[in-house]
């Protein structure tokens, strides 16, 4: 198994992103990306008036 590199946080993007990669002989052999933040907006939407949905879904991302 080669070297493992973690880049966290990834900047100049919206949100909290983390990248992990495995490197062998100067080449990336495996890589993972993961969002480091969760708000559960789907769960918040349950049971609400459908006319209210946009207020929440619009705020997934403010960019």
């Amino acid at each position: 198994m080669g070297k493992r590199i973690t880049i966290d946080p990834i900047t100049r993007i919206e949100g909290h992103l983390r990248i992990d990669c495995e490197i062998e002989g100067g080449k990336v052999t495996n890589a993972w990306s993961s969002g480091q933040m969760w708000r559960g907006i789907e769960n918040i939407l349950k049971g609400r008036d459908p006319r209210d949905a946009w207020i929440f879904t619009q705020r997934f991302c403010g960019v």
């Binding site: 966290d8 900047t11 100049r12 918040i44 929440f56």
Partner: protein, 374 residues
Amino acid sequence: MDFMSVIEKQGVSRRDFVKFCTGVAVTLGLPVSMGERIAEAASSPKRPPVLWLSAQECTGCTETLLRTNHPTLEKLILELISLDYHETLNAGSGHQAEEARLKSMKENEGKYILVVDGSIPVKDGGIYCKIGGQTVQSILEDMGSKAAAVIAIGSCASWGGVPSADPNPTGATPAHEVLKNKGIKTPVINIPGCPPNPYNFLSTVLYFLTLKKLPELDDQGRPKFAYGRLIHENCERRPHFDAGRFANQFGDEGHRKGYCLYKLGCKGPETHANCPVILFNDIGAGAWPVGTGHPCFGCTEKGVGFTLPLHSPARPKYITPPALFDEVLPGKEGASSGIKSLATGVAGVAIGAAGAAMLTGLGKKDDEKQDKEE
């Protein structure tokens, strides 16, 4: 290079800069002459280091500062303060970004301003938001305890916002509560809004910079210069409310005529903010939700925004129809239609009552007409 040459290079003349600072002074409710002092403080070579911590956020708060229509505002922001750490704006990633943060924290301990956007999840050990492997809760506790002041920007950081909406799946908590629960006494200023108005943020920073103290805050930690009044008090559609002229449905006659949006669920009567006064995006009149024909949904107010259904009627805090206003010239007969002159003059009462009956009648007619159209 000094501050003035930097911003002049970016196309902002000294005259424009002082004009901007005077605008800020007026927003703050300070005398116009304070503009010069603000300009002086803002252009001093010792600009306050600002560290920006992002928690459960959507970056809308950052965008509102950077994407204003006014071409110079973003430059002013970035030149007015020394922004040492900001996840979305940092050039370096990973350990480089973390090093910049820790270095500035160490060098400026007790002096930097910490800006927080986004709520802080505290459920399940805070695992729902992490930066560099640490929970944002632990980062905030560390950074908050060493800051001169904390500015919570946006509704999420100020009172919980979207992530804290029922059933609050992640235990989303506002910044001031996280610090308080840990016994950290750093003062916190809340600038709620979704998005918040960038001028309220900038004005707060410049106030702190110029007068070396925090602006006066209300019981929810919001600067009074910006959140001291209800939207309803300064709303351009307020005369329609007082006269009983309402939009009953989107697109109906009342809506097309720009009548009051109370019956569509406008939360202006219970929401404190200066939106109708300073507007958004520097594009002139009407650039705020009610101005575009949509009811206010109360984003700056805990217990209103993201909590009450959008189209349920607001619970007005103060109902002051014109007949109950204080007299303009107390004691001078006939000078105002205030309650006293109405009570003393029988004729006044009769006229007042007739007027009120007429208004009510007209309102009813409009409603009936609308009902038929529906």
